[in-house]
């Protein structure tokens, strides 16, 4: 067995988990909203891409690009019309509403697409690989990882270099005073969820091309995403990437020792990090 190879595969898998987690991290960082339907939204995104590829005969990447604005609009509307009403001092309403949303999405998908497990075909890319010295690296996993880095870089630029990003952080700090700056927090929150849904679409593309998916898979994606966010420290995008990588590496290492240990070792790694650093690896200084 080749340890270095296993770790490389784990890092690449971590990119996928970071993609699952980035949208969750964004939404939580700005409005302290834990979206329990996040995993189901990813699966829904995958079905949307599947629909576009099969109905229009599009390449999955093109289909995902088409899905981006649709998902943004959906996220904006979801936050503006539904989730904004749940925000307040009490943290229970958003949890209950997003939990309900999760059930609704799962059953809606079941109705619309049946319980069959599906897959988005990426053609010859699925089996393509690059040879780097002694290591063989799959093109799709590499693309997934690079996309994750691209998403994290883009979110950081948005957050720390733009006027919208300043408004995100200011609203997160103090939405009342932000109002005195002319910032409408309802719209800021809706925009944030819209952007999170664009990240969800990218995650959905790689979820759907990497393996089979079915309407019930959302909650498991949510767990990985949640663990990655917590490991990284709430509110830090690079931390989220690190969290994803830690879970990915732990899972592939566990699977290399014994295939039954794959899922378990990811969760154990999460618990160990929580034990050592309860606030995560890179918690935001202000909180």
């Amino acid at each position: 067995m080749n340890w270095a190879d296993t770790i490389i595969q784990g890092v690449l898998l971590g990119g996928l988990y970071a993609l699952f987690a980035a949208g969750l991290s964004l939404v939580f960082g700005i409005m302290r909203l834990v979206n329990l339907a996040h995993g189901d939204l990813i699966v829904m995104g995958a079905f949307l891409i599947l629909l576009l590829t099969s109905a229009l005969g599009l390449n999955p990447f093109l289909a995902a690009a088409l899905a981006l604005p649709v998902m943004f609009a959906l996220g904006f509307a979801l936050q503006y019309l539904v989730l904004n009403r749940t925000l307040g001092d009490d943290i229970l309403p958003p949890l209950l509403v997003t939990f309900g949303l999760s059930v609704v999405i799962q059953n809606g998908l079941l109705q619309g697409f049946s319980a069959d497990s599906r897959r988005i075909s990426a053609g010859s890319l699925e089996t393509a690989s690059l040879q780097a010295g002694p290591f063989s690296i799959g093109t799709m996993p590499l693309l997934t990882f690079l996309s994750a880095i691209g998403v994290i870089v883009a979110l950081n630029l948005l957050f720390y270099r733009t006027s919208l990003g300043r408004a995100f952080r200011a609203t997160s700090d103090d939405s009342v005073t932000a109002g005195l700056m002319g910032i409408r927090s309802e719209r800021i929150f809706a925009t944030a969820t819209g952007i999170a849904m664009m990240v969800v679409t990218i995650a959905a593309l790689y979820l759907g091309t990497r393996a089979n998916f079915d309407p019930t898979q959302g909650p498991a994606r949510l767990i990985y995403a949640f663990e990655a966010v917590i490991i990284g420290g709430l509110g830090s995008f690079w931390g989220t990437l690190a969290g994803g990588i830690i879970i990915g590496v732990a899972q592939t290492l566990g699977a290399a020792i014994n295939p039954e240990w794959q899922i378990l070792s990811g969760h154990i790694a999460f618990l160990v990090v929580l034990l050592v650093r309860p606030r995560g690896l890179f918690p935001r200084a202000v909180d």
């Binding site: 300043r166 952080r169 009342v176 932000a178 109002g179 005195l180 700056m181 002319g182 910032i183």
Partner: protein, 236 residues
């Protein structure tokens, strides 16, 4: 027609009534001070004007429009900016970002730019990259004032600027007011520090228990009258 007027303004926090028919007038180019003890309703008055508290539409008129019922972002857009009590800088933002966010809703077409603010408060330029909350109290107050000015407001509302600051620092900050006025802003200042407020104001209102008890020009009213209106003591 005055730039900003309140007509019989009432304000409530739930069942609790904080203002009982306040009439205030602010003319273009004027600086007006509102003084009064703790709980007199001064802050409620500013919160009402700035849109943090919603009121009946006609209770507040600005530029010939009813603005009483507007929310804070709408009020800022019309050109009324507020320096909130306790400064309320955004801890996640640097000094410069705190200033820049002041023009998020409105940048206006006035003299106030980032450079102009740094020229007004040079110390902020040195600290531009620090987190806003790492500054001293006086410097934080400068950021809060600069942040409000970045929207090039026609009306600047200042809530308890001197609160918790050393007198020498307060003097430094008030030294900036002539330039703020020269650039065309009309100003409402709320102060517990009567001396400081009357020094910069053209006119003043004294409030007690949600009502205006005295108003006039600083040099035409005696100390005794102000004390009576401030504390509610009956002058013989």
């Amino acid at each position: 027609m005055a730039l900003l007027e309140t007509h019989g303004l009432t304000a409530f926090y739930g069942d609790f009534q904080a203002l009982f028919g306040v009439d205030l007038v602010l003319e273009e180019g004027e600086t007006v001070a509102v003084i009064g003890a703790n709980g007199a309703g001064k802050s409620t008055l500013l919160r009402s004007i700035s849109g943090l508290l919603r009121n009946a539409p006609g209770h507040i008129r600005y530029d010939n429009a009813d603005i009483g019922a507007l929310c804070a972002p709408d009020v800022v857009r019309l050109g009324i900016a507020m320096v909130p009590e306790g400064r309320k800088l955004f801890p996640s933002l640097s000094v410069e970002e705190n200033l820049l966010i002041g023009r998020y809703g409105r940048s206006g077409s006035g003299a106030w730019t980032l450079e102009a603010i740094y020229d007004l408060f040079p110390v902020l330029k040195e600290r531009r990259a620090s987190p806003g909350t790492a500054l001293s109290g006086g410097q934080q107050q400068m950021v809060a004032i600069g942040r409000a000015l970045m929207s090039n407001p026609r009306v600047l509302l200042c809530d308890e600027i001197s609160l918790g600051l050393a007198p020498v620092v307060v003097k430094d900050i008030y030294a900036a007011f002539p330039r703020i006025r020269a650039n065309g802003a009309s100003i409402v200042i709320i102060e517990q520090d009567i001396g400081q407020a009357l020094k910069v104001a053209d006119r003043f209102y004294c409030m007690m228990e949600g009502r205006v008890t005295l108003s006039g020009k600083p040099d035409t009213v005696s100390r005794e009258e102000i004390h009576a209106a401030y504390f509610g003591a009956h002058t013989p």
